[in-house]
Symmetry: C2
Subunit: 333 residues, 2 copies
């Protein structure tokens, strides 16, 4: 039976929303076990007695306000996030979902679960909304500041398998984010990576993609280094935030605006849903020996439920084993 | 009298919208001369006989569909863009405005007008919308792929003067775009640039700014390298494009949506106006010996009018002379 480790204390809305998600998940999926890391009392109060649940008790947790979450994690191996990762490294759970601080989860997974052999880098890979509603992978968004071309190829191979097994895309297409679409564009690293991806037999390479096509390009995977991916992801966040804020301000300004909103509210809700990352799930931390899902810090029960489901797909479809096969084949060439 | 060179043939809507903008400008500003580069016949047909206009006739122009605009510009010194730049280099005009292809304008300004002494790099610097409606400078967005810390400092000094003289900000604040706000964040170059900006006496340095704060940070200037700036700018463009498209789709989907739109349309128009880069003007190409304004390729008359006005401010407020003074003072230290 698939066994997923859940950090009950990670995220702005923990533990309430996390436990709500767990409850719904347990009701819907009878054949999956969840191992919950957190206070036994709080968990039992929220869930009562449930089948398919194991509780690993700890009162310690990494607060979202912690100034130096990475040091905290190193110093506190008995906090809920560290224990979940430890269980994954010992194969007592098949994967981990946490909405706790991103950098701590990345570093913790590195130190505790450890990198796959033949995988030189890890990456954080969110699923972003797309115009066709299917979502697209973007990586890396912050696990590495700089990447060499060989690392980019590794990540593209991993993402291709993820896209196939988690997103259900039969033949995933990969695009390289760049400042122009022509082959010779960009920095040295971009040109080198372009050549390597083009020569690869395991990647369906589309070519360069400009960031104005992030939602509309034919690619299922957009590849870039962690510095650039982080800048791009947060720009999206900033634009969404500001457009929502200014639109609300302008609508509220007049009676006609409020009246219009009354008629149009369902349309605007549908519009928002199409661009809402919550609909899709968390970011996958790839390159370590077990699936780790980083749910958004502000996850509500619905978002966290989707993140657990994503872990289930990564585990159920043997993503890690399939990646190992591709990496080992490369090594033997 | 200020004399601004205008490339009549640059941009998707040239020459019609460019000439409309010129006409309005000439009517409003009686004490400024415009030198127009393009077909005498077309210009005269659109404007009639006007005071304060000089026509430099050429039929040749750089098409927006040109595959290799930079080579075209090198090979055709008698096209409208190249001639406008030539006139600026010979001080026959005080500055140039063009909506033609960006890379050609950047390279052309380099080759023909030439870099300022003591200025090692140029940069493309658009004015982006901000939540407070005043606009913010972002640079570089594509003149240089990579920049050293000394170049970043040069650009910050230039932008500080631009912000003061063109945007009317008495004490402009500069932020360094980065993946986190703490001082030690980012790549080596980011840490080095941080230290240099912090030590500078001519810059009001705010510290690091994440791109999710692009519209809302207290900074008037956001500094980054040309590769990153280009990725960020085009991400903004992509998000704006997709949100507008999906919102239109959802509103049109039902009768209630259309009805709501009828009541709310003025509110939505005001909302759009607050985020419209057209309200503010073009991108300034800085670091060469004369002001060069790159109006957006899709400029209509209103946008192009604003771009001409920006050139007027750069020239009228002696931006180039003020920058020279700061750069020379640095050199003598």
């Amino acid at each position: 039976m698939i066994n997923i480790g859940i950090d009950i204390f990670g995220g702005d809305n923990a533990p309430e929303e996390i436990l709500k998600a767990v409850k719904i998940f347990l009701e819907k999926k009878k054949n999956i076990k969840l191992t919950l890391f957190g206070s036994e009392m709080i968990i039992k109060a929220a869930l009562g007695e449930k089948a398919n649940v194991e509780i690993v008790h700890t009162e310690k947790f990494l607060s979202m306000g912690e100034k130096d979450p990475v040091s905290y994690l190193r110093a506190n191996p008995d906090c809920s996030m560290a224990m979940a990762l430890k269980y994954a490294s010992e194969k007592k759970v098949d994967g981990v979902v946490s909405a706790g601080p991103t950098q701590a989860l990345i570093v913790g997974a590195h130190l505790i679960i450890k990198r796959l052999e033949n995988m030189k880098r890890t990456a954080l890979c969110p699923i972003l909304p797309s115009e066709d509603g299917k979502g697209k992978l973007l990586l890396d968004v912050g696990a590495n500041l700089e990447l060499k071309k060989e690392h980019m190829l590794e990540l593209a191979n991993f993402a291709t398998i993820l896209s196939r097994e988690v997103m259900g895309i039969p033949e995933p297409i990969t695009g390289l984010l760049n400042i122009g679409t022509e082959a010779g564009k960009g920095r040295e690293i971009d040109k080198e990576t372009y050549a390597l991806l083009e020569a690869s037999e395991t990647i369906n390479f589309f070519g360069n993609v400009e960031t104005k096509e992030l939602f509309s390009s034919p690619c299922h995977i957009h590849l870039t280094d962690g510095y650039t991916g982080n800048m791009v992801l947060k720009t999206m966040e900033g634009v969404f935030g500001t457009t929502s804020k200014l639109m609300r301000e302008e609508i509220k300004r007049t009676f006609m605006g409020k009246l219009g909103y009354f008629f149009m509210r369902k349309n605007l809700a549908r519009f928002k849903k199409r661009l809402d990352p919550k609909e899709i799930g968390g970011a996958m931390l790839i390159g370590v020996k077990a699936p780790v899902i980083k749910a958004h810090g502000s996850s509500d029960a619905y978002a966290f439920y989707n993140a657990i489901q994503q872990a289930e797909k990564m585990i159920g479809n043997n993503v890690i084993e399939k990646v190992k096969k591709v990496l080992n084949a490369k090594e033997e060439e």
